[in-house]
């Protein structure tokens, strides 16, 4: 230990800390300044940025003692404090106003980098901002709002006032619905006070680590933990034998061992867990666990997995490596192709991709009875499915569900990647064994290795159409790489299959999908849920057909677009809320706005092209799965209302949407409603935050609970005023009769006096759906989108850039337009990554993409101009007509880009991410098709 003198946010600190600390560690763990986040420890993501003597640096790789005697500013020091309170920095104000904050985890880094820029240059243009923030990642926003916010902050700093916010126009705003309200803890998210799991500290807390497999597929012969157990400071070392209950977890199929005892099936498999007094001790002790393995043959890809010679991962399982064969049968294929004038058949490959939410997984377990706050075994975790976490923990711990409490913390991004169990069961076991709180924080590298990814797919698709542009038939075969465990493969690949006709009227379809077990990291939910993959194939085949019959790509889509009255490939008659044609028309009008439209052209050494693609995505679980959300609404005598729901806000702004629904129903100002999320003891089950379902499902649950509460209050007020209940008006925080009124709080008081409960639970059941293969409504709503991408291709290098995206999205109803726009912009940028930058590479079962520096996602420098239109074809059952938005923007960007590349240079890309190397070589050789992706460069 040595003396370290620092001035942090104007306060002098003299610390006695080890010389081995990084600055980020000192800030977070020695000083409790947890606003500074650690995203990667590789100087890659930039979210740990602080100022040292005014210069922005990555604190994760900055030795603390290098800062000796220096002045440091962190996110906590950005706002000014005086007698009158806190005054937010213009950057903080602007990030709030422009909705440049979603999950909030990267926000401190973005704002510290931005303030450093504005300190030097208060009038930055787009390029200056892109240069300054180039290596500060945000996975949620897509950066468009960030750029706007920084410009606005600069304008305020220059004394020129804030710039207008790009709030999208919408149809028929209501009192609260249709307004861009801010999430309730937005100030916490911009000041660094927002707490994510790793920001929590409990007395006596231990630190945990997981020993993971050394092989992608091996039998475990022996595990010797004696040396690790004897290591000073180690409090527990546990293996499969120590799992108190069932040593399996899973979301659909229970096939994933809590700890592997007999065999390992991928490199991320957990073999042993350690709790120790410090993280350093846990790290060191991990290396002392001796495991003897007998390596087995590796199943490296899904096509091989289905062959008879492939080793079987889950021995004794009926069906071997075939996780599921999914079938769509519709119409008469023979007739469909016989009547087609043009038939196009191609094979497409999409990569495994990684969510790269900026907050790595973290869980804290607290043993039952540890203190008054923790009577039950309690797990703090940022999870997308708190109640299913509880159930999986309880099964493994051999406890009833009610004996376990899951307390949801803020989630630093999810995108589907925080649905599966990570450290929740492990910390439960370690906490109960040691009788102390235990924190398990994954490193970025462990997160990359461990959690389920987006399925890599191979999609062969054959499309037939008549010369007049009528689509006649689609036949497709999909292989999905499910990885080592089922996770949500069954559901994801079902969605890929059912959506493989595209959002079109396809009278004849035959689609087969094989979801396979392999020794790769498991695949699971990822924004788009399989549809991102099939859309890449469907929408390129659409362009190929249009070209073959000589029809404009837009006209061809319009001719076949789903509309009310069309029956989908799964036999669902679309009866309402099909806004696809309007989305196509809106995008087409913008694309052709300059009058002399061309799909492709050249300027000097650059080729430009437009590409268009459509998408649809179900809202809700569908497929016959009972879909239910519970929510509770309680009114208080002070006129405030609390909404309670176990559902996840991972940045999409669900807390705002739920509060808006309650405020609208009760005629309250938005800020009279607060939301308590995700505590399984205090909040009812909102179901999984997946499938773009929470606005629809929990939004409805809250809306109906609030409506019931309103009706209860009506009866009371009606008697008081002697006025018919159905003529009472709830508005502006008042209950109004003709000429008289009382405040909402007084109405609550009155109700309570009469013994009427002002706490209402509503169990909302989504409309019934049908399983695939039985016809009827497989889903209760679909969202629709069209996107056009303008891309450039450098004719000398093959480098592809996206210059502009025009998007139109039918979401039924815009409950919160700015949050919605944030979902769309963020989804588009994420999908650009899917097409251009991202591939999680696994070499014969061994991940290569083990560092964030090997997994590039779009940064602010890739951000194109985005023009997004909202289209609102109301869904009759959705809250105020709303449908889902979380996934729909992330589906058609990739094929739109691929179509644009073709229109620019005449080369079609069938495998992604696009390899500029192969593209250039094809261009130079005059070839028109490329079947190599980046990861094929070897």
């Amino acid at each position: 230990m040595s003396e370290l003198r620092l001035t942090i946010n104007g306060v002098h600190h003299t610390l006695d800390v080890p010389q081995s600390r990084t600055l980020a560690e000192v800030l977070r763990y020695d000083l409790g300044l947890t606003g500074t986040k650690i995203g990667c420890n590789e100087a890659e993501c930039g979210i740990c940025t602080v100022h040292v003597n005014g210069t922005p640096i990555n604190s994760c790789i900055y030795p603390a003692f290098r800062a000796q005697g220096k002045t440091i500013v962190t996110i906590e020091g950005l706002a000014a404090q005086d007698e009158s309170g806190e005054h937010l920095h213009p950057v903080q104000e602007a990030f709030i106003n422009h909705c440049a904050v979603q999950c909030g985890f990267c926000t401190p880094g973005l704002m510290m980098t931005a303030t450093a820029l504005l300190n030097e240059n208060p009038n930055p243009d787009d390029k200056d901002i892109k240069v300054a923030l180039k290596d500060t990642y945000c996975r949620c926003t897509g950066y468009t709002s960030v750029i706007a916010a920084i410009k606005s902050a600069g304008s305020v700093i220059r004394g020129e006032g804030a710039l207008p916010v790009n709030d999208p126009p919408i149809d028929e705003p209501m009192n609260v619905i249709g307004h861009s309200e801010k999430v309730q803890d937005i100030v916490e998210r911009v000041t660094g006070r927002a707490k994510y799991t790793d920001d929590y500290v409990f007395d006596g807390m231990l630190f945990a680590r997981t020993l993971r497999s050394r092989y992608p597929h091996a039998r475990i012969l022996s595990i010797d933990t004696s040396a690790a157990k004897a290591f000073p400071g180690v409090q527990a070392v546990l293996t499969a034998a120590d799992v108190p209950g069932e040593n399996l977890h899973g979301l659909v199929h229970f096939d994933w061992p809590v700890l592997c005892g007999d065999k390992v099936r991928y490199m991320g498999d957990a073999v042993a867990i350690i709790a120790a007094d410090t993280q350093e001790i846990a790290d060191k002790a991990l290396a002392l666990i001796l495991v003897e393995y007998e390596p087995l043959g590796v199943v490296a890809d899904p096509v091989y997995a289905r062959t008879p010679e492939a080793p079987v991962l889950h021995e004794g399982r009926e069906g071997g490596n075939l996780l599921k064969h999914i079938k769509v049968r519709h119409g008469d294929m023979e007739k469909g192709f016989a009547e087609s004038d043009v038939i196009i058949e191609r094979t497409y490959h999409t990569p495994t991709t990684e969510h790269a939410f900026l907050e790595p997984e973290c869980a804290i377990g607290i043993p039952a009875g540890y203190d008054a706050e923790h009577e039950k075994l309690t797990i703090y975790v940022g999870s997308q499915i708190p109640y299913q976490d509880r159930n999986q923990i309880a099964r493994a711990m051999n406890l009833p569900d009610e004996a376990v409490r899951v307390r949801g913390t803020l989630i630093g991004g999810g995108f589907g990647g925080k649905e599966d169990i990570a450290g929740q069961i492990h910390v439960s076991m370690l906490a109960e064994v040691t009788q102390r709180p235990v924190k398990m924080l994954y490193t970025r590298q462990e997160s990359l290795l461990f959690h389920p990814k987006r399925h890599a797919t191979v999609i062969r698709i054959k499309t037939g159409a008549k010369n007049d542009g009528t689509l006649m038939a689609v036949e497709a075969e999909l292989y999905g790489d499910g990885g080592a465990y089922a996770s949500l493969s069954d559901k994801v690949m079902t969605r890929a299959t059912t959506h493989a006709t595209g959002p079109y009227n396809v009278p004849n379809a035959k689609i087969d999908c094989y979801a396979m077990y392999t020794n790769n990291p498991p695949s699971g939910a990822f924004r788009g849920f399989g549809v991102t993959q099939s859309a890449f194939a469907v929408e390129q085949n659409m362009d190929l057909i249009a070209e073959a019959i000589g029809m404009d790509a837009v006209e061809f889509r319009l001719k076949n677009a789903q509309k009310v009255g069309v029956t989908t490939g799964t036999g669902q008659l679309l009866r309402e809320s099909v806004g696809l044609i309007e989305t196509i028309e809106k995008v087409d009008a913008d694309m052709r706005a300059n009058g002399h439209f061309q799909w492709g052209w050249r300027e000097g050494d650059m080729a430009y092209g437009w590409g268009i693609a459509c998408a649809y995505k179900n809202t809700g679980l569908g497929g016959g799965a009972p879909d239910k959300s519970d929510a509770e609404v309680e009114a208080f005598e002070d006129g405030s209302v609390e909404v309670r729901s176990s559902s996840a806000d991972m940045g999409q702004g669900l807390v705002a949407v739920l509060a808006q629904c309650a405020a609208e129903e009760l005629g309250l100002p938005y800020n009279h409603v607060r939301v308590l999320l995700s505590d399984t003891d205090l909040t009812p089950n909102g179901g999984p935050t997946t499938a773009s379902r929470q606005t629809f499902m929990s939004g409805n649950a809250v809306r109906l609970a609030a409506a019931n509460l309103r009706d209860a209050l009506k009866t009371v007020v009606s008697e008081e005023f002697d006025y018919p209940p159905d003529r009472l008006r709830f508005e502006e925080g008042l209950v109004r009769a003709n000429g008289s009124s009382m405040s909402f709080g007084e109405a609550v008081k009155l109700a309570k006096k009469q013994g009427i409960s002002t706490r209402i639970l509503h169990e909302y059941w989504g409309p019934k759906t049908q399983p695939l293969g039985t016809g009827g409504d497989m889903h209760f709503a679909f969202s629709y989108a069209t996107q056009a991408a303008l891309c450039s291709v450098d004719l000398n290098t093959g480098v592809v850039s996206v210059e502009k995206i025009i998007s139109a999205t039918d979401i039924g109803r815009a409950i919160n337009p700015l949050l919605l726009q944030g979902q769309i912009e963020g989804g588009i940028i994420m999908a650009m990554g899917n097409c251009l930058t991202e591939s999680y590479i696994v070499e014969n079962g061994v991940p290569w993409s083990t560092l964030l520096s090997r997994y590039k996602m779009p940064s602010i420098k890739h951000t194109p101009q985005i023009i997004s239109h909202l289209v609102e074809h109301r869904s009759s059952e959705g809250p105020y007509g709303a449908k889902g938005v979380g996934e729909i923007p992330s589906i058609n960007t990739s094929p739109a880009i691929a179509n644009a590349i073709y229109n620019a240079v005449g080369v079609r890309v069938f495998n992604i991410p696009v390899d500029q190397d192969a593209l250039l070589r094809a261009m130079r050789k005059g070839e028109t098709e490329v079947y190599a992706a980046w990861h094929d460069v070897k």
Binding site: A43, N58, S839, R921
Partner: protein, 306 residues
């Protein structure tokens, strides 16, 4: 994860060498640390280091000076400070252009030119330009000797430096600044996926005759071609005494294709693509340097756009 024990911040080269020597091989020099801390976490095998020796408080290593037409850049000068140097921008433009595309601002603010060279990548951006500038480096060896060496002699293989960063120290670089009729340029090709290493980088230095119409000399570094950075001497030779026009450029491109044989690197580039990129880069960098030499005006391009 604890990666080292002690942290020292010496204020002279001698003190730094003494520290290294006292830890007998189990300490390391740290300059910016942007590569080192990642290596220690993810690639380091063996026991935890006893110490890091921080060289960023050694005055002679953090200075950037001009004397008699020569520029001296301390090994611990950051990329940002090089990019901000008006002197280097005007008279060794390629170095600003290469240092300006390394990482993002946070990395450039701490990452140093010495660290870039000591890391010994065959196509480090700073390295490529230093080779074209014919730079020399002063090394303080662990045995107390100080020695000036041509830059290329510091490279032994991909990632293998002649310096042992547990014993030796790269103190300063020096190179001659461009005079009248001389100029430089740096260009590189990246891909948006995978590690942020150049597919191919190219730095050129040209010297024109008094008429400013003919080459009298040139130095060109294109990499990675071999396992260590090297000059493209056949291409340079093709320029000597030739008019600075398109015909000469075509000849240079042809000779480059004939004499430079890049290899395929996994997840980075195929040999065939790199072969095309040699041409693309020469066509960009050479005319740019010629224009700068002719006009005497050089403004760095692409800074921050890496």
């Amino acid at each position: 994860m604890q990666l080292w024990q002690d942290y020292h911040t010496p204020t002279s080269v001698e003190e730094a060498i003494q520290h290294l020597s006292s830890y007998a091989g189990n300490s390391r020099i740290i300059a910016g640390g942007t590569d080192l801390l990642i290596d220690l976490q993810f690639n380091h095998e063996g026991p935890m280091l006893d110490a890091l020796i921080d060289v960023t408080a050694i005055p002679e290593m953090t200075r950037l000076t001009e004397e008699n037409g020569w520029c001296t850049v301390g090994g611990a000068v950051t990329h940002t400070n090089i990019v901000k140097s008006a002197l280097i921008e005007s008279k060794a433009t390629c170095l600003v252009e290469s240092c300006g595309v390394v990482g993002g601002p946070q990395v450039r603010n701490v990452g140093t030119l010495g660290g870039n060279v000591a890391h010994a990548l065959p196509a480090g951006d700073g390295t490529t330009s230093l080779v074209a500038l014919d730079a020399e480096a002063e090394v303080a060896w662990g045995d107390g000797r100080r020695e000036w060496l041509p830059l290329v002699q510091l490279f032994k293989g991909p990632g293998v430096s002649a310096l042992d960063s547990s014993r030796d120290l790269l103190v300063v670089f020096r190179f001659k600044l461009c005079g009248d009729g001389e100029a430089t340029a740096f260009k590189r090709i990246m891909r948006p996926q995978g590690v942020a290493l150049p597919v191919l980088g190219c730095a050129v230095w040209v010297k024109l005759d008094e008429s400013k119409q003919n080459y009298t000399a040139a130095r060109i570094c294109i990499g990675p071609i071999a396992s260590v950075p090297a000059r493209a001497s056949e291409v340079e030779l093709a320029l000597y005494g030739q008019p600075a026009n398109d015909d000469t450029l075509e000849k240079a491109v042809k000779i480059a294709h004939e004499t430079l044989h890049p290899r395929t690197s996994k997840y980075r580039a195929t040999a065939e693509y790199r072969d095309h990129m040699i041409e693309t880069l020469l066509r960009q960098a050479l005319p740019l340097a010629v224009k700068r030499a002719q006009t005497g005006v050089a403004q760095a391009e692409g800074v921050g756009m890496g």
